[in-house]
């Protein structure tokens, strides 16, 4: 468990993606089986325990620690498991810290009544870092600072280029901890594990944003167009081995959307967009947010936020792999499949007829429904290729909405940008003259502009709160965003979708920035009492 705890500790504090991959790779390369496989399962979220409740941990600590000192300590640290890990007065023992495989095995086989003594023994044998990892693991509260995808990239790295991460992805959901066969394959002393009929995830094909030079070169006759919907990209898989709904990051989200899984009755692998839709009208993304990041779902949620999948593509029809076929052929197969199977809660993404790119541009700019982000252009002869191949699929987002907002606060960035103030909070004027924050943006400026604005911020700071500076309310930023949605979680009453900085406007007086009421008038959707924060995987069509 020492190596695993050390890995977690480093991942939590490491911002860089490549550095995280290097840390994971070192762990997989230096930790023996079966520990590394159990560690891999913990990183990818396949290993979850709820063997102990927080109450058990608190009680263990209370048996050894003065309650007043514990209360002060907990108040200071703010996290129960961490408080116990740090404060634990270890009794001398000759026992070694447990291995992660030992912990996983013991949690599955130990009777509940013996658990407190077992955990106390582990805590006695371990240093604070291992104690923290243990306590987080056994309470099911482990947060790993790395995604499952990064773990697979680290495994591909370990394979030394012989096996890529997408190939690992295609067998992944047919495997289970401690992944001995997978490691053997990666290290070149075993065959590729055969997932057989398991409902494995197929790495999706992604699109490039369409920039003006590519647009100019586009041959309209060779492309097909569809709307780009503002939902989340999903993959539906049904095989004789089971049914799954995956996010585009390969997370199994079946439990959150049981009605979709239930509707998928024929053997197939489908690519589509998950949306909340009522009577065929797609609701704003905020509605879908209500259903994301949940382990289970209530009948009421299912009724109030009914979901559908708008189908884009058919990857497998039965056991037949259609991915090598051209888009037009797959589309024909998709339509035939849909007509034959008539699945509930699934419709077909509409094909948009057009003669010229200019005509298409007019259609795109005419689309003002909140849930339409723009257009997808797919080359008629494109096979379904994992990743982001160039020239086959384009996303062509509609022109963004813009506001002129006033810079209010700036926060330091992370990693490479940690010495720069790169996270900007901006606001708009209310009728009474107050400036209210309406959003935060991190992207859109060049390095040179970031450097310039960093100096401006340092020279115009009026107050400081840890890593955040409040600045003179005199600097205008032109902000682009895809949609404005009403929200009663925000003081301003409005939330922006994908805000980014279009340009700096040092020329513009702050009092000429936009008014909040103008933005509210352009906002869509109805206010929500509660919307959990969600990572919808960013902007991807």
């Amino acid at each position: 468990m020492i190596a695993f705890a050390d890995l977690l500790e480093r991942l939590v504090f490491t911002p860089g993606r490549n550095a995280k991959i290097a840390l994971l790779r070192r762990y997989f390369a230096t930790t023996p089986d079966p520990d590394r496989g159990i560690g891999l399962a913990a990183v990818t979220g396949e290993l979850t325990f709820a063997a102990a409740k927080p109450g058990l941990i608190r009680q263990l600590a209370m048996e050894r620690v003065d309650p007043v000192l514990f209360a002060w300590s907990y108040d200071y640290v703010g996290d129960l498991a961490e408080t116990v890990a740090l404060i634990w007065p270890a009794r001398p023992t000759n026992a070694a810290p447990p291995s992660i495989a030992e912990v996983a095995h013991a949690l599955e086989t130990t009777p509940k009544a013996e658990l407190p003594a077992l955990v106390a023994g582990w805590l006695d044998a371990s240093a604070p870092g291992v104690r923290l990892a243990l306590l987080k693991l056994i309470t099911g509260a482990l947060r790993v600072g790395a995604s499952a995808r990064l773990a697979k990239l680290a495994l591909a790295d370990l394979a030394g280029g012989a096996i890529d991460a997408d190939a690992i992805e295609e067998v992944w959901h047919g495997l289970s901890p401690p992944y001995r066969a997978l490691f053997a394959w990666i290290e070149g002393h075993g065959p590729r594990p055969d997932p057989q009929a398991a409902p494995v995830f197929r790495p999706p094909m992604l699109a490039h944003p369409l920039e003006p030079p590519d647009l100019a070169a586009l041959d309209a006759a060779r492309f097909r167009a569809e709307w780009k919907w503002d939902g989340i990209r999903v993959q539906l898989v049904a095989t004789p081995g089971g049914r799954r709904l995956y996010s585009r990051g390969a997370d199994d989200i079946s439990a959150a959307f049981p009605e979709i899984v239930e509707a998928l009755e024929a053997e197939a692998v489908l690519d589509g967009e998950l949306l909340v839709a009522r009577d065929g009208i797609v609701a704003p993304f905020a509605d879908l947010q209500q259903r994301l990041n949940r382990r289970s779902v209530t009948p009421r949620m299912m009724r109030d936020f009914p979901v559908i999948v708008r189908l884009y593509d058919l990857l497998f029809d039965g056991a037949e792999d259609l991915r090598p076929l051209p888009f037009d052929a797959r589309r024909a197969r998709l339509e035939a499949w849909h007509a034959r199977v008539r699945p509930a809660r699934m419709d077909l993404s509409e094909m948009i007829a057009f003669d010229t790119i200019d005509a298409l541009a007019a259609l795109r700019d005419g689309a003002r429904a909140a849930a339409i982000e723009g257009l997808m252009l797919k080359r008629a002869d494109s096979p379904y290729v994992p990743g982001r191949p160039r020239g086959l699929w384009w996303k062509w987002k509609r022109a963004p909405l813009t506001i002129d907002a006033v810079l209010m606060y700036a926060q330091r960035g992370h990693g490479r940008r940690s010495s720069f103030y790169t996270d900007y909070t901006f606001g708009l004027w209310r009728a009474d003259g107050a400036l209210l924050p309406v959003g935060k943006a991190y992207f859109g400026l060049t390095d040179a502009e970031i450097g310039w604005l960093d100096r401006w911020i340092r020279n115009h700071t009026t107050a400081r709160f840890g890593p955040v500076r409040e600045v003179d309310k005199t600097f205008v930023l032109e902000i682009a965003f895809d949609a404005a949605q009403l929200s009663n979680r925000h003081k301003s009453g409005v939330a922006l979708r994908f805000p980014r900085i279009l340009r700096m406007r040092p020329d513009k007086p702050a009092e000429e920035a936009d008014r909040l009421e103008d933005l509210l008038a352009r906002a869509e959707g109805r206010p929500r009492a509660h919307a959990p924060a969600v990572d919808d995987g960013g902007d991807e069509g």
Partner: protein
Amino acid sequence: MRHPETWLKVRPEGLFCEPGGFYIDPLRAVERAVVTHAHSDHARPGHAAVLASPATLALMRTRMGAGRAGDAQQPLGWHERLRIGAVDVWLAPAGHVLGSAQVVMEYGGTRAVVSGDYKTVADPTCERFEPVPCDVFVTEATFGLPVFRHPPPGEEIARLLASRALFPDRTHVVGCYALGKCQRLIALLRAAGWDAPIWLHGALAAVCGAYEALGVPLGDLRPATVAAREALRGAIVLAPPGAIQDRWARRLNDPVVGLASGWMRVRQRAKSRGVELPLVISDHADWDELLATVAAVEAPEVWVTHGREEALIHAIEQGGRVGRALRLIGYGDEDEGGDGPDDGPKGEPETEPGTGAAA
């Protein structure tokens, strides 16, 4: 028997020894000061007369200039008795930084010890703490909560070197306080076999020179400020905590940013500083050291000057002793006492929310 509370008083200037007519670590310029160590919150400039260990005086001259380090400076060696007024005064090592002393005062048949800042674990750059039995022990409580238990410093240095081995091209920059922590890190690195040059931010160079002049060898040290980015590839660089994420650090090659401080023990603290490699290395006693020291000096009464006094006093009283908070305001502005300044080598004072400047 005169109980020390009758002759050791808290005044606005700081702790005052009446029968000796001197202050200990006064917070503003006074006639006569006894200084425990050279950190700027304990050693203030402009006193008329200063008594301290020879190393503390030398470090004060280095940091504030000979003209401001006291008009008259009197060095006092370890365990040398000196009669000041009606009080016998002597110094014992405090183990905090080079020259750091506990001030032992004997008067009217009682003995009081003001320990200043201290730690009891071994440190290759300074004399080790000596417990002095006494009637009243005056202690700090910077890490006065049982969650603060510092790991062996060698383990933390091993983590730094393991990171350097995994990322051999990245500059490893470690934030550390200029006096004490910096030199201890260098000595720990040398002890772990790191013989390569160690590169220093300009604000750290003078004190390192003073340490070497006082007989603490630190090996090959070079100025990072004038170094080419290429030379710093894979190097270990030390800098003040305020510089590691600021403009100064832009010269470094894809840096791994570390910070060496006892506060790094708590994850949320480390996260809020945004560092990639928190190192739990402190020059202050941790919880176990505080309690062990209180027991070792056998004092029936303990006064707590600064830090998290309520928890320590609670534990002291549970151990059957009398605990009392002195509430001296103003300590902890340099080194770890105030959780460290966030910005700039000059340190515009800034504390984290909810901790307070004198925490």
